[in-house]
Every structure is written in structure tokens, then in C-alpha cells.
């Protein structure tokens, strides 16, 4: 086995959009740390450009975006486009917020990973990221 496969999962957690507080994102960040992840936390009001620039420098496996502004149909695709443009489309883009099922499905078709509504147990999120990142690392090193 390649030593790289055993390194901790690195994930960038950010709150996108212009609205208020980041309590939810902080709770998620702490839970991911407790699950053994290395969490790069960049806080509030992140633009897609800032998020992707940080994700590239940090060479993360995944990006977890929290947003509640209703702008998910523009923010998620924009982040995805920027990742693709940088040749970093192996990075998992996941996240959560109040997002209608129909929109989740559409985003999924575009290539966004699973999105988690409020009240989802954090253990589901952790398990999902573990599985998904393991699969993507496998592909990356093939």
C-alpha cells in the first residue's frame, strides 16, 4: 500500500455567501477533526474564488461548503467550474444547507457530491467523506 493512502484526510470547511454566522460550519469542522480529519477552516463569507484558491494551496481531498443563503445553484457550480479549470476535479465537493431535493439532484448531476440537510447525523457525513475520498485517492494513484 502506498504511504499516501494512509495520510489523514484533508478537508477545507468554509461558509459561503453573505449571510450571518458560522456556528453550523464550526460544529461540522470540530466533528470532522474529532473523526481524525485535518480540517482547514477558513470561516465566513468566502467567495468561490477564495475557496478554490485555498483548496488548491492546501491540496485538500475535499471541500465542505456550508451555505444558507439560497445561492446554492450558483455557488456550488461555480466552485466546481473553478476546480475543473485548475485540473483539480478529483477534489470532492460536498456540503450542507437548506437545499430542495430537486436542486440536490441537479447539483449531483453536475458533479457535486452528496449534500446534507440540517439535522443529518454528523456520523453520516464522516462516513460518506471517508468512502468517497478513499475511492478518489484510488483513482488518482492508479
Amino acid at each position: 500500500m502506498n504511504a499516501l493512502d494512509q495520510r489523514p484526510i484533508r478537508i477545507l470547511v468554509a461558509k459561503a455567501g453573505l449571510d450571518g454566522h458560522d456556528r453550523g460550519a464550526k460544529v461540522v469542522a470540530a466533528a470532522l477533526r474529532d473523526a481524525g480529519f485535518e480540517v482547514i477552516y477558513t470561516g465566513l463569507r468566502q467567495t468561490p474564488e477564495m475557496i478554490v484558491a485555498a483548496a488548491l494551496q492546501e491540496d485538500v481531498d475535499a471541500i465542505g461548503l456550508s451555505l444558507h443563503s439560497g445561492a446554492h445553484m450558483t455557488l456550488f457550480p461555480r466552485v466546481l467550474d473553478l476546480l475543473k479549470a485548475a485540473g483539480a476535479d478529483q477534489v470532492l465537493l460536498t456540503g450542507g444547507g437548506i437545499i430542495p431535493d430537486a436542486d440536490m439532484a441537479k447539483l449531483g448531476e453536475m458533479g457535486v457530491g452528496r449534500l446534507f440537510g440540517p439535522g443529518t447525523p454528523l456520523s453520516d457525513l464522516v462516513a460518506y467523506i471517508r468512502t468517497e475520498v478513499a475511492a478518489r485517492r484510488e483513482v488518482g494513484s492508479a
Binding site: 477533526r33 474529532d34 482547514i40 477558513t42 488548491l56 485540473g87
Partner: protein, 319 residues
């Protein structure tokens, strides 16, 4: 612009891409060296000797304003179009291995500036300690053309000593309220400081802290480090701090040489120690690891002393 790097370049191609300024290659390379595996070692070997970027350690107690100060210093150098690299180190949990790396929050002003490269590192607690990965990461930033390279660590334990070995200049940042820290760190932070910063000097108690530091450093027989008052959030005192750091980079060439010598020694030793230890514990198909388990049982149940167990484990070696 950044062309997507091929998935598995050779170490030579990878090193060339880093030297040519390919940021993705740099980010990927940092992952390799951080992981301290064979791929990282191959990359470092291909990179050969690196330049001489000024390495500046910034350490101090939690919340003193280290990250804010780093961000303000970066801004000062960016005003002169210097490309600046930042390594922000935070501890990993010894229990879960996880880490919350939050220093970037204070550095968002540089979020989409191509001339600033920020990387968060978890200490990971690997054998050889914090320093090994940080030396290598700093080398990569250096090779990619970043000068200076700033290294932020939380100064609460052994880490700050190690960082002072990795850096050409060590800035110790304190804030009003870290007075008790000053009391408790007779042999620690003050001794490694090349420059002492009293940050948050807009807050009450700053002058008292300066006075306390002044009398503390005057007691030593070494050259007293300069003390600078700053308000990192407003950029106050930053011109003076920057000038001090640049002055050290330019003028103290002799001292830098001594510093670099010590750094090279520490680094080589750490690498040799690590390889030796790896080889020892992984020897003979895990027999050594099993011997450790047995010895541990004996020591735990009181039938052997730890010293005896060590002697037995090392028995095979001419130690």
C-alpha cells in the same frame, strides 16, 4: 496559467515544475514531503540544493495574534512585490490524529493573491517531531521562489524550540495577559527570541508587559533582542518589525551561517535517527515489534525492569 500537472510526474519533472512556479506542483509536493514517505524523499533529492530564502519563525502563546501579525507582515512585503510563503502549523490531536487548522481565517486578505502561498500543516506527531516536515516544506517554498518564508507555530511546548532551529529569525509574539506566560517560561520562549513583539498593544497592560520583558532580557548575558510594540489588526508597528527582519536577513550574514549550520546538523540527525528507528522497528518481519510487545508486558507486570527490556531489545545491535 496553471496547466494541470500530470498525475504522476517523475521526481525530476516535479522538481522542475516547482522551480518554474507551478503552484499545483508545489501544493502536491508539499503533500509528499509532509507525508515523509519515499515519494517526498525522491522529490527533495531531485530538487537538490535550495536557495536561501529568509525563514522567519513566529511563535507565542495561543491567541497572541500570531496569524494576524503574519498577515500584516505579508502585506508589508507584498507592497514591495516580494513573493511570500507561509507555513501555519497547528497541533494534531494525539488521540484521533485530527487537527483544526484555523490560521487562514486571519489571512483572508491574501486569499486570491498569486504572490502569497499559505499552507496549513498539522504537527502529526510523527517520529522526529515537528521540525522534519517543516524544514522540507520550507525548502519547497524556497525553491518555488518565495522569500521570505514565514512559519507560525503555537509556542506552548517543545515546538517553539524546534521552530527556532528551523528559522533564521525567530519572532516571539506576546500580548497583554500573557504576563503569566513570561513568568513560566524562564527557559523557553524568551531565549529563542531574536525579536520580541508585544502585540495587541492597544490593550491595557501593554506597557507593563514591555517593562517586564525588558527587565527579563536584561538579566541574560546574551544580546538582548529588540522589543517592538504592534497592533497587528491596524498594521501599527509593522514597518519597524519588517525593517528589523529585513535587517537581519541582510546584515547578520555570519550569524545566519551559524544558524544554518545548526539547522543542517539538527536536520541530518533527525533524518538519520528516523531512518535508523524505522529500520530497527521494522526489522526481521516485525519480530522486533513483537519483542516490544512482550517486553512491555514484562515491564508492566513487574517481572522485568525497563532497563533490562531495553538491553535485551538492543542486544542484537552493537549498541
Amino acid at each position: 496559467m496553471d496547466s494541470p500537472s500530470p498525475k504522476q510526474p517523475s521526481p525530476e519533472q516535479h522538481a522542475a515544475a516547482i522551480r518554474a512556479g507551478d503552484r499545483r506542483a508545489l501544493a502536491r509536493g508539499l503533500t509528499l514531503v509532509e507525508n515523509e514517505g519515499a515519494d517526498g524523499a525522491a522529490l527533495l533529492a531531485a530538487l537538490g540544493s535550495v536557495g536561501s530564502a529568509h525563514r522567519v519563525g513566529i511563535t507565542g502563546p495561543p491567541g497572541a495574534g500570531k496569524s494576524t501579525l503574519v498577515s500584516a507582515l505579508v502585506a508589508a512585503w507584498r507592497a514591495d512585490s516580494r513573493d511570500v510563503g507561509v507555513l501555519a502549523v497547528d497541533p494534531s490531536s494525539p488521540f484521533t490524529g485530527g487537527a483544526l487548522l484555523g490560521d487562514r481565517i486571519r489571512m483572508l486578505a491574501h486569499a486570491d493573491d498569486e504572490g502569497v502561498f499559505i499552507r496549513s500543516l498539522a504537527s502529526r506527531g510523527a517520529f522526529g517531531g515537528l521540525a522534519a516536515g517543516v524544514y522540507d516544506a520550507a525548502d519547497l517554498l524556497d525553491a518555488a521562489g518565495f522569500d521570505p518564508v514565514l512559519i507560525e507555530t503555537v509556542g506552548v511546548g517543545q515546538a517553539e524550540i524546534e521552530i527556532s532551529r528551523a528559522a533564521d529569525t525567530t519572532i516571539v509574539v506576546l500580548a497583554p495577559g500573557s504576563g503569566d506566560v513570561v513568568q513560566g517560561m524562564k527557559a523557553g520562549l524568551l531565549e529563542i527570541a531574536d525579536v520580541l513583539v508585544v502585540n495587541q498593544s492597544d490593550r491595557e497592560g501593554a506597557d507593563a508587559l514591555v517593562a517586564a520583558l525588558q527587565s527579563a532580557v536584561e538579566l541574560r548575558d546574551a544580546v538582548a533582542p529588540p522589543i517592538v510594540k504592534t497592533v497587528a489588526t491596524r498594521g501599527e508597528g509593522l514597518a519597524e518589525l519588517r525593517a528589523l527582519v529585513d535587517g537581519r536577513a541582510a546584515a547578520a550574514a555570519g550569524e545566519l551561517t551559524a544558524r544554518r549550520l545548526a539547522r543542517a546538523r539538527a536536520r541530518i540527525r533527525a533524518a538519520v535517527d528516523r531512518r535508523r528507528a524505522d529500520a530497527f522497528w521494522n526489522a526481521a518481519d516485525g519480530a522486533q515489534a513483537q519483542a516490544l510487545s512482550e517486553a512491555a508486558r514484562g515491564v508492566a507486570d513487574g517481572s522485568t525492569s525497563a532497563a533490562e527490556a531495553v538491553a535485551r531489545l538492543l542486544g542484537g545491535e552493537s549498541a
